[in-house]
């Protein structure tokens, strides 16, 4: 009875097909040999992939996205680790409220944040700068990092820290030699999830990016609004390939389910 019947399997296959269709079509169109969009395509060629080279703004946006993701994620981790330790280790006044505050960006629509940051950055002179992008991304990716690091901190056996203290370790030594190595999987996966969210973010970034500092999803979005051609499909296809590769590595090393569902309950 715990096997799936034929009806269930048909549904399942259709569902997977539904999920994969747009992604596959993007990749398929990217290989078209024709100079315009046509489906089905007549021939296969790599001309559109080569054409990416003629559009340096895409390459530049890609690099900017990578840099933005790396910097924001690292900053987010640096803020999230002490915060997670505070929440997990201590009972203090305002603990619940502080935790809710750090997780609150999840509840705020990115469109609202885009508007808010646009206004704010314009007023303090950070409008359209890379620093502004970093700061805004840190805010929205912090909850993802925090959740995973928090789960790792609470899942740890606390007695180990007491043991370290009893053997003479100061608070800092205890953190460095005992706590950090033990929560490192949570920290690393928090970084990765934060990076992914920063890289893919478009709604908020569309408001605060400027032509000089733009991320790849935003550049794609703006391009698509005017025309849809195989070039943009090629760029997306490259992104998809890279993401799939990263995903396979992630799953092998850490487990995709664990990354997205989170280890333990919050």
């Amino acid at each position: 009875m715990n096997r799936n019947g034929p009806l269930a399997l048909i549904f399942h296959v259709l569902f997977l097909g539904f999920l994969l269709a747009p992604i596959l079509i993007v990749c398929a169109v990217a290989f078209t040999s024709q100079g315009y969009l046509s489906l089905p395509t007549e021939g296969l060629s790599l001309r559109w992939f080569r054409a990416i080279g003629d559009n340096p703004e895409f390459i530049r946006a890609f690099k900017d996205s990578l840099l933005l993701g790396a910097v924001s994620s690292t900053l987010a981790i640096l803020v999230a680790v002490p915060a997670a330790l505070a929440i997990a280790r201590h009972q203090f006044f305002g603990r619940e409220a502080i935790q809710a505050l750090f997780l609150s960006p999840l509840m705020v629509p990115h469109i609202v944040l885009g508007i808010a940051f646009l206004r704010f950055f314009t007023m303090i002179g950070l409008g359209g700068t890379f620093a502004g992008l970093v700061l805004s991304h840190v805010i929205i990716i912090l909850p993802f990092a925090l959740r995973l690091i928090l789960a790792a901190s609470t899942g740890m056996d606390r007695a180990v820290e007491n043991a370290a203290a009893s053997l003479g370790a100061s608070s800092w030594t205890c953190f460095r030699r005992v706590t950090l190595p033990l929560i490192l999987p949570g920290v690393a996966s928090g970084w990765v999830l934060a990076f992914i969210n920063s890289f893919d973010e478009v709604t908020m970034t569309v408001f605060i990016a400027s032509p000089e500092t733009t991320t790849l999803p935003v550049r794609l979005f703006l391009y698509i609004q005017d025309n849809i051609d195989p070039l943009v499909a090629a760029v997306s296809a490259v992104l998809i390939f890279l993401t799939v590769a990263a995903m396979l590595v992630l799953d092998r090393v850490y487990g995709l389910e664990r990354l997205l569902v989170g280890k333990g309950r919050d």
Binding site: D157, V160, A163, A165, G168
Partner: protein, 357 residues
Amino acid sequence: MAYLVLDQLTKRFGNWTAVDNVSLTVEKGELISLLGPSGCGKTTTLQMIAGFLDADGGRVMLDGQDLLAKKPNERGLGIVFQSYALFPHMTAAENVAFGLEMRRINRADRDRMVADALKLVGLEQYGDRHPRRMSGGQQQRVALARALVIKPSLLLLDEPLSNLDAKMREEMQIELRRIQRTVGTTMILVTHDQSEAMALSDRVVVMNKGRIQQVATPQEAYDRPANAFVANFLGRTNLLPGMVGGSAGGTVITVADSVWPVAQPMAAGPGALAVRPEKIGFVDAGGLSGTVLARVFQGTQWLFEIETAAGKLMVIRQHDGSPLPAERERVMVGWRADDMAVMPADPDTASGAREAA
């Protein structure tokens, strides 16, 4: 000269007093157990000595120094946790070396001391193993080595054997005793297992509801329990209600139709008589009369349940061929005055408690 002195140590959680003015002295090199049921305050006391809980009142003096004034990582105590708390990302040798690293012992000395410590607990080949690849007993021994290698002034053990299976537990009890004798460290063991406490300790400290009920050697506490709680907690005991009164010959206690002399002078009034099942025998006259309700053969011994006017009684007799009563027989049971303890009727007040040194 007392090595460790607990002076009216107190801990409160809100309205509830977990440890109530506990005072205790421990000699150097002693192994004492804090014994009692869950919630009696033994673990809380240990945690205050270790420094993981702040005391609400009282002092702890170790070798003349105020222990409570120091932070937990300055107290120099060795602690074996109930879950062992080994560092999972370090090997056994690295675990044991940790305390030495904190004390900035140089590499060569460190390696030597770690090897000696692992040898002491019988794990010299296991230095490179990680905790998750060790059995419970092995992990426990690593935890012990880690606590001992720093040559602590005091070793605290929090229910160290409770996670082991029965056979492992027996082995570890012997090991622990041997190690303590070899190294000579003063040890305080927290446990709820009375047979374990009696097997290991020089003295037991029986606790209940945050207070010390009796401090004595295991044999003293067993043979002469200070009150009904101790009598019930250590081994099996029969508790018979009676009336204490004076007479020309001295104080006696009357239990149903029997009269027993009481060694210490006691106030007249309701009292209780405690006597162990194995100390009761069948007599012809001068004892408590009753009827055999049931008898159970247990191989080396017979277990009797006797109904008397003072309540049900449990008697254990050796199966050595001597004639024993059958079910539904009327019998008379008796015991030596030395083998019984008499106490006031209310089991909760420990006013009869005394230190039997």
